[in-house]
Amino acid sequence: MARMKFLCDADRCIECNACSVACKNEHEVPWGIVRRRVVTINDGQPGEKSVSIACMHCNDAPCAAVCPVSCIYQTDIGVVLHNKDTCIGCGYCFYACPFGAPQYPRTSNFGTRGKMDKCTYCAGGPEVTHSEAERQKYGKNRIAEGKLPICAEMCSTRSLLAGDGEIIAQIYQERVARRGYGEGAPGWSTAYADKRNVRS
């Protein structure tokens, strides 16, 4: 069934970090919080790869399953959103998240972190669409304008793809067929697959 996904083509990522910067700028994300980041694997060695990673908006999202106050929910296009008014900053979603996506502002001592913040797939939050409250808490709502996340739309090498999962999978597979190599979509088995479907 169709749903929104992210796919990072690690063979194309040049670690320019523009996705992180664009995200920060678009949503005016505060200091200390990174909704999207680039991780380099095998840095300085043969086979070095960079992957842009953020919330993958998983199927059966583990963060939503462990949230003790049920503030995390998933929309029918597969986007995982949360309600900052309800969040208690317990940090459980960070323990459950396979991708380190949830972020917490440091507001006080003793583990009482501030309200969680994470990638919204540029889909805002539970506030009224395009309202000032939504913009301040969650950032811009591009999905409601019919646009895709800014990080993917401005990726200069089209390494980061966003949108309908089946279409971006097809784009990626055609690329792999054309250039003759590709190591699979990072994180997809963890985020979207039934464990039975994973190629071993």
């Binding site: 199927n59 929309t75 396979p98 972190r113 019919g146 699979g184």
Partner: protein, 403 residues
């Protein structure tokens, strides 16, 4: 039949029903997250892109067509111009067939070639933040199912199970009476320091137990009653109270160690006491010998001390996340903290039962600090003999600690 036995029988029936409910819920529990909020075009007819998109199934969001169209822009070497902006999408609560959508996502076909086995991947990040270099930790899903299934349902089983065992015991045995009846004369058992410290620790423990249960069981139990906003507010206070109450609790346990550790060392008397189950099963006035604390009380003491230490260690780790533990460590700390907490709640339920409903005359020891002579003779014969010899003529004076 005494009212205590009738009460025990009723409580047992209620607890059997609760255990049955928990068991059924455990088997029916799927834990699958399914969508709750929809993005739909306000007026689908006005959206040209929406119409041109492939026919969507009824379970699929109409917004998908518009966004899928936009996705096509990322096709390589595309020459298409950007689409006109769609201003027609608004949020609407409620999704039909939420579960079937979520199940459809789970069995997403066609991606098999993209999937590699999940693995723990760490790299290098230019960001100065902790854990920013971790690309993937699939263990998060394991922690989630451990917390949501064995710990949550096992914990409710444990608590209701202990309750059921106690209710059945009360039903079968009734309240444990002072066999020789109350003598009317009392002897001092716990002094003011011991009692106030006990109640400080007890109230701190009850606060921590209730607030901890809110965090573990708030979603299934409170959410349907008070809604998401109410639960959020209660859970926020719970998180703060839980952390704050740890201070008096730890202080109280330290004072208990100072006051009572020597009298709680395990001796051979305790084996004998445990083998006869404290003589609780019959009305024989010759109960197994015990000094100031019997084996049951020692069990509570050591359970609170060791459990408290484990809860403190894991709780400190949770209070300072990732300061000295990694992902695995944090996940284990949370699980250990939860399990220890649930075990201590079960232990304290037993402690409260035997100190109040379960035994005549027991609550006086911690409430007024003075116990009936016959109660002391029956349950703590050695201690009783000792204090009678130590201060035979002045039983009304409060006793100093045995040290």
């Amino acid at each position: 039949m005494s009212p205590y036995r009738i009460g025990g029988g009723i409580a047992a029936l209620a607890l059997i029903a609760l255990l049955a409910i928990v068991t059924v819920q455990w088997f029916r529990h799927t834990d699958l997250i399914w969508p709750t909020v929809s993005v739909t075009p306000e007026a689908q007819s006005s959206s040209t892109v929406g119409q041109s998109g492939s026919a969507t199934t009824s379970a699929e969001s109409p917004a998908m067509a518009i966004l899928a169209e936009r996705t096509q822009l990322q096709v390589d070497k595309n020459t298409k111009p950007p689409t006109t902006e769609n201003e027609n999408l608004t949020f609407q609560p409620g999704v039909a067939n939420g579960e079937s959508i979520a199940r459809g996502w789970l069995q997403s076909p066609g991606d098999q070639q993209l999937l590699t086995p999940p693995s723990n991947v760490a790299g290098l990040s230019s960001l100065p933040y902790r854990n920013a270099d971790r690309l993937e930790q699939p263990a998060g899903r394991d922690w989630r199912s451990a917390r949501n299934n064995p710990v949550r349902f096992g914990g409710s089983w444990l608590i209701f199970g202990i309750g059921l065992a106690l209710a059945l015991f009360l039903f079968a045995r009734g309240r444990i009476q002072i066999v020789e009846g109350r003598s009317g004369e009392t002897v001092p058992r716990f002094n003011a320091i011991e009692r106030s410290n006990h109640w400080m620790t007890a109230s701190a423990f009850i606060i921590m137990a209730l607030t901890g249960l809110v965090v573990l069981y708030g979603k299934p139990l409170l959410l349907p009653l008070i809604g998401e906003q109410g639960l959020g507010r209660i859970a926020w206070w719970s998180a703060w109270l839980h952390v704050s109450a740890a201070v008096p609790f730890v202080l109280g346990v330290i004072i208990m160690v100072v006051l009572w550790l020597r009298e709680n060392l395990i001796t051979r008397l305790d084996l004998h006491w445990l083998r006869r189950f404290g003589g609780f099963l019959n009305d024989d006035p010759h109960k197994p010998s015990a000094d100031r604390f019997n084996a049951g009380q020692k069990l509570v003491f050591w359970g609170v001390l060791l459990g408290g230490l484990a809860a403190l260690a894991s709780g400190l780790a949770l209070m300072f996340p990732f300061h000295w533990l990694g992902y695995d460590g944090m996940q284990w700390a949370q699980l250990i903290h939860g399990v220890i907490g649930l075990l201590m709640v079960a232990l304290i339920i037993g402690h409260i039962y035997i100190g109040t409903v379960g035994m005549e005359g027991a609550v006086d020891a911690m409430w007024s600090g003075r116990v009936d002579r016959n109660w002391a003779k029956e349950h703590h014969d050695r201690w009783y003999a000792r204090i009678i010899n130590e201060r035979p003529r002045r039983p009304s004076q409060p006793a100093t600690p045995a040290e």
